[in-house]
Amino acid sequence: MVDGRASSLKNLLTSFISHRNEFDLTDIEFFRRIFKHRAFQWAVILPNLFIFVIVVISGFVGTPVGNMSFAVVFVWILWWFALMTVLTPLFSRLWCMICPLPAFGDWLQRRGFIKKEGGFRWFGLNKPWPAPLKNLWPVNFIFLFIATFIVLLTTRPVVTSILLLTLFVLGTVLALLFAKRAFCRYICPVGGFLGLYSMFASFEIRPKDRTLCERHVTKECVRGSDTSFGCPWLIYPGGLERNNFCGLCMECIKACPYNNLAVRIRRFAKDLLVKSGRALDEVYKAHIMLALALIYIAITQGPWGWLRDWGNVFYKPTYGFALSGIQGFAIHAAIVWSSSLIIVPGVFYLFCALSKYLAKGEGSTKNVFINFSYTLIPIGLAGWIGFSIPIILVNWSYILNVISDPLGWGWDLFGTKYIPWQPVLLEAIPYLQILAVIIGLIYSIKYGSEISKQVYQDERRAVGAFLPIAIFLILVSILFIWLFVG
């Protein structure tokens, strides 16, 4: 017994880096029962929905001062940090499991909160999502549009609340028009980058035995059963190879009559080697996220005040030569859009062309571009982690302040409202950022070289093809390091 436990613990601890010791949580009775329980997702969404309501209300009726606002502090300090440094890298789309945005839509579609009643039928029009929009381009453009207003969003509570409320209403309305979670899959701006970076995560739901799923005719994981609504994410769990569109709702676990789905802790970045599903719309997300990481670090953490002025549409120049709010914001928007859609992908494309030349490859440069763009995921995520570290270490005390006075009405519920602003571990921040970038680079190069071996059968060509990409990755990493400590 003791040996068995020790072995399980060893498997768990090594599962993050080893492909031999993946650890299946459904092997543990406690987790298996929780995942199969109908009230599970409802129970994890409910507290989050409560916080969501406070966030939205506080943005509308609370203080307009960003760093004193529950809306801004909870969303852009606590949630953002947790999402980018813990939830997504470790647990894939765990956020989607507990996200309150599509909750009402789900409950309306299902005509209930938890149970599936006898004689069940979906509520709403239940239309299929339009075929031309079955890709990530809408998500990319919606995300980029919202990202353009980042300075406004992260500093004006009411703007944060308007955005969240809009997404909530949109999620609900789309649930009434289209089948299942079309909103999460094709519209949600958060879902886009969570899907991308969840490929790096050390967590997955996968079939234990794919042949069993192939032979199984009734496919309850998709269609649903007496105890499950089936996958709301419009995917076939029996064929899952990547995390991108799995929202970890556990409906498939509840549905499978053979208990053939595993919830595994696995090695990081495993999905980057999965060839199926690679597409231009998806890799463009990687370029957008990389460009935005660099731009946001420069705007919000750099010494360039004029960059912040440009991002602030309400900026009123008070001295010297300065552009007005609208003029500056137009330049800011041009920088954000051109960097994300043209400059970063364009420069990468040139490196891909060089890669093709060195490998004497026959395929199109576009295919090289698509395949190698997945190498940007670890380094991009590392950049975002580096960006997020100072956000929490500098501003953590604001979280305690707003918990005691969520609406900014002068309450002091827990005696923490007046805790002074006190950044911690400031001297450690640069080293943590450097560490994140170096680890990200190593993962990018490791998986890039393996992708290259997938694409080119000949080892010599594979190495040649990857060399320019590795140089690009190193240059991007140096850029991050320069922004952090240069």
């Binding site: 170096i438 190069i445 990493s477 140096i478």
Partner: protein, 171 residues
Amino acid sequence: MFLLEVIFSFTLGKMHRSIKTFIALIILLASFACFAYYVSPVSAQPQHKYFNVTARQFAYEPGRIVVNEGDIVTIRLRSADVTHGFYIPELGVDETVSYGEEKIITIVADKVGKFKIRCSVTCGPLHPFMVGEFVVEKGGINIIFLGSTTILIVAGVLSFIIFSRRGKQVG
């Protein structure tokens, strides 16, 4: 292109991997040592330096102050609009300045690195983004940047060599 092909052939040559790794490391470190030597000034004696800094919503002008280790820095701080902070706890600096006021701050640059100057007084919507940089170099070189870049490049090159030589992965 020629250079890339040389590197390409180097990574695939018949030389033992550990020797190649060693050579790569030596070349890289030597390159950076040469670079550091080239950019460092002849004399880096501690000096007394003076800066006029204006704090305004939501930046410091100039936004970046660069000094050498050991320098004594005197900053004449003014505000162009509302009350702002000038906070660098790593160097023991915590000052505020109101509009119309002038504060003299003396900093002994006894630690190397890039330190953020942060506003410690809520000064408007973008207050959390109001940062500047106080960079303390050693002999004219930002050694944290140089050192971390060196480590990063070495890590990148080593990763490239090691992972490129590993067996083929099944995708």
